[in-house]
Symmetry: C2
Subunit: 199 residues, 2 copies
């Protein structure tokens, strides 16, 4: 569907409002009426862009994937040595501290919320995590190519483990309202990568 | 409230039914009527044991905490060397494979579902994760006391990092429907512990 500029802006307003609601209170607790109210659109306007709530959910996942990966790229695009790895870690801790550990990772929260209730959303979220993992993997590969990591380091395994450390750390930080778990979890992975460095 | 044996059995039936529903479809999607139907109790019976849905949620968290920690203890109670660490890892991979990676970690799912909507539940889940972390920490401390880990290893930090690796690995395994992320995430932490062993 080709949208006019005004139509595009209305669609984006709906998606932004739905994102906030779904991340604040969960997908199931967010009704189509809530979204209409928050985005200040009529029912017919909302249905013009989205045939139903499921379609809004998929647009929210797409929106959050863009947001999270854009933020991640600020740290991961420059990743080719241990200083850059520390900067990426600081970037994540900074975001977490700024939000007072509320909300957890948007993609992790949506994945936990939707994996068993919406198979299409689950696949879309699996793809989002795959892209995130690839960004980490690319950075670790650059470190290896520059001789910062041993040629024998399994960068594919390490990329999954780093993403898992971030996700698990963010969840524990959310539930404890403390950045401590994310910091300890990512720092332990960085310690591990240092054991694989060529010194 | 002291319950008769029959009362206790009814209460347990309600909690077991509510646990299944809330983990299958999420807390918000589970109504009190769903729970009554699944547990085959009348509204007045349910309200005899629980003043409302929030009270059922807290009982579900308590129930799932018991289930998860009991299963974890089967691996963690024996943890005092690397073979036992591998057995704990195999135990978790076995459970994940048996469930075909559906559902993720019950405590992780409840934490993601409830942390922003139910402050009492969040604190109860934070306590559950604290108990889990202590079980891991106790095991790593035994490994250190036996000389399997260096005296300089920070077992408190490593315990948080291991729990985060399990939680992040389980979430990624749930969304990908593959045990691969959990395996790679926990194996990477075991690799790291080996770098801290006294050889």
């Amino acid at each position: 569907m080709a949208l006019t500029r005004k139509g595009q802006a209305t669609r984006e307003r709906i998606v932004a409002a739905a994102s906030r609601l779904m991340l604040d209170q969960g997908v199931a607790r967010t009704t189509v009426e809530d979204i209409q109210g928050a985005a200040a659109v009529s029912p017919s306007q909302l249905y013009h862009y989205f045939p139903g709530k499921n379609a809004v959910v998929l647009a929210v996942i797409e929106h959050q994937t863009g947001q999270v990966l854009d933020a991640q790229c600020q740290g991961l695009d420059k990743l080719d040595n241990f200083d850059a790895l520390g900067n990426w870690r600081d970037l994540m801790v900074g975001i977490l501290t700024a939000t007072q550990c509320v909300g957890g990772c948007p993609l992790g929260s949506l994945a936990s919320d939707l994996s068993e209730s919406d198979p299409v959303a689950r696949v879309q979220l699996a793809n989002a995590f795959q892209m995130w993992e690839s960004l980490i993997h690319d950075g670790l590969t650059r470190m290896q190519e520059r001789g910062e990591l041993s040629p024998s380091a399994d960068t594919a395994q390490l990329a999954v483990a780093l993403l898992a450390a971030v996700q698990g750390g963010l969840l524990l930080s959310q539930v404890r309202r403390s950045p401590d778990p994310l910091i300890k979890s990512v720092d332990t992975m960085i310690d591990h990568l240092r054991t694989l460095s060529i010194s």
